[in-house]
Amino acid sequence: MSEALLSVQDLVVEFEVRDGNLRSVDHVSLDVPKETFMGLIGESGCGKTTIVQAILNLMPENGYIRAGRIYFDGTEILSLPPEKLRRIRWEKIAMVFQAAQNSLNPVMRISEHMIDTVLAHRRESRARILERASRLLELVSLDPDRVLVSYPHELSGGMKQRVIIALSLLLEPEMLILDEPTTALDLISQAYLMEMLQEIHHELGITMLMVTHDVSNVAKVAERVAVMYAAKILEVGSTEDVFYRARHPYTAGLINAIPSIVGDLSSKRPIPGLPPSLITPPPGCRFHPRCPLATQICREEEPRMEEVGAGHSVACHHWKKTGEK
C-alpha cells in the first residue's frame, strides 16, 4: 500500500454537554493512503462528522480536540498557526460538509461563488477562474453556460451538490473529504453522484475520504473502508476484506443487517441491543453488550487494533472466531 497522505493518530475529541463530557472520538487512528478512495462508515452519532471536523480543526464552540496528531503529507497540521492551517484547508484538503447544499449564498450567482472562493485564497484573473470552473462543471456533468449564470434556487438539490463539488475542486486540492454527500438526494441522483465521484477520483487522481452512514454506498466506489462504532474505529481494510472477510463482529453484524435488492434475505438479521451512550460507554470492548462472541475479557479489557492480514486491522479479542458458525 502506498504511504498515507492523511494520517490521524490517537485522536481524542470531546464535546462539553450538560451531562458531562461526551467523547465522540476516542483514541482513533486512521491512515488514508495517497490516491486512495476511502470510505468511513458507521451508524449515525458514532463520531464520523467529529473526525472530519477535527481533521480541519473546525470544531464547534463546545468541541475540544483533547489529544492526537494529524499529519498531512508528513506535516503535523493541528499544531500549525491558524493562517498556515487555513491555507492547507481548501488548497490541499477540500471538504464537502453534510447538508452543504444549503451553504450556497442565495443572492450570488454560481460564477460569483467560484470567483470568491479562489480570490479568498490567491490572486488570479476572473477569466482564468471561470475557465477552470467551466471545466470542473463539465466534469460533474453540468452545463457551464447555463449553471454559471444561475442562482442557487434555480438549481435542483442534485445540481447544487455537484456545484459544491466543483467548487471544492477549484483550488486543485490533493484530497477531498465528503461528509454524507448523498443525503437529501433522490436515489437516482445519488447513484449519479457516486459515479461522478469515482470519475473525479480516477481522472484527477485525487485522494478521497467519504463519510457515510449508508453501508451500501461505499461498496461500489471505495477501495478501502474503515468502520466506526461508538467513537472508535473497529476495523479497517480493503473493501473486500470488510464486506467479505469482516473480522469484527460488529462489521459482520452490520453488513448482515442491511437488506438488498438482490441475493438471499433469509440470513439477514438485525443486531440486538442498542449503541451505547458516549457519555458513559461500557468498559472493555464497547460492542460487548451486543456481541455474540463476548466473554469475560471483553467486559474488562479494551481490545487493541491488531493487524489480521495485509492492510487489514481489527480491534476484537476474538477476531479469529468471527464468521465461524
Binding site: 441522483s189 445519488q190 447513484a191 443487517a257 438485525p270
Partner: protein, 329 residues
Amino acid sequence: MTELLRLEEVQVVFERGWIRKRKGARAVSGVSMVIREGEIFALVGESGCGKTTLGRIALGLLRPTSGRVLYRGKDIWSADGKGLRPTGQMVHQDSYSALNPARTVYQTLAAPLRRYGVPRSKLKEEAEKLLEFVGIMPPKYFLNKYPYHLSGGMRQRLVFARSIIPKPRFIVTDEPVSMIDASLRLSILDLMLKLNCEFKIAFLYITHDLATARYLAQEGKIAVMYLGKIVEEGRMKEVLERPLHPYLRALLSAAPVPDPEIARKKKLLQLKEAEPPSAEAPPSGCGFHPRCPYAEGVCSREEPPLRDFGEGHRGACHLIEVLPPWRLM
C-alpha cells in the same frame, strides 16, 4: 384473500395560493389499486411522487378530488358510506412527534385501551402484554418512562403497540424505519411481519427504499409510483426479477447494494435527465419520457395505460414489448 380496500381512479389536486386559488400539483392522478386482507403491499417511489398523499387517501384521512375509495366494498365518501372510516392506522417516520412527550409509556397505552373497552383493573396487565408483544422488555421497567427516555427504535415499537389497540385491519406505515439505525432497521420490519402474521393485519408500506420494501413484502406486492401515477405493480418477486417499466429499471440500476462485486458489476441505466421534472408542470404523454432512454414519438403524445402482462404484473409503458431484456448486471 378477500378484498379490503379498493381505490378507483383516485385523483388529488391540491390548490395553491392564498388569495386567488390556482389549480396546483396533481399529487395523485388516476390511481387504482386493491389491497386484500392480510396483504403486505409496498408503495415505492422518489420524493414528491404522491406516496404519502395516497396513504392518507387509503385511510380515509383525505378526500380525493375525484375517484372512489371502497372499504370492504362500500364507498367511504358516498352519502350512505358516511361515518364509515376504514379501521386503519398510520405510522410515520417521526416516532417522536407521534407520541405525546408529557405522557408515560403506560399513559400512552392506557387511554386508548380504556376507549376500546378494557376495564380499569386490567389496564396495567394489558399494557404490559402489549409492550412485551412489540419487544419493549422488560415491560415493567418501561411503563413509567417518557418518550424521550426511549431510543428511536423503542419509540417506534411503542407507536406500533398503540396502533394495534383498535384492532385495525390494516396499517399504513410511511417510511417507518428511515430514522432508525441501520443495525436495528430489520427488527422494526420484523415487528411488522409479526403483526401481519399473528393478527393478519394488512400493511401499506410507503418507502423510497427498494431493499427494505423487498425484505418486508417478499411474499407480497409492490407498486411503483412516478409523478402521481402507478407505473408498475405486481408480486414483489416477479416485479423485481422482470421489471417492465424503464423507471423501475432505472431505480433498480441505481439502488446501492452491500456487496462490492455486485455493486461494481451493476450498470447504471443512463437517463436523459438525472432529475425528475416538477410535479407542477408534468410532462405530456408518459410522465417519464423526458428522462427515458428508450422514449419514442408516441411517448410524448399519448399517456400509456397500465397493461397486464400476466398474473397481475402490470406496467404503464408503450414500449414494454420492445424494450431490451432486463439485466441487473
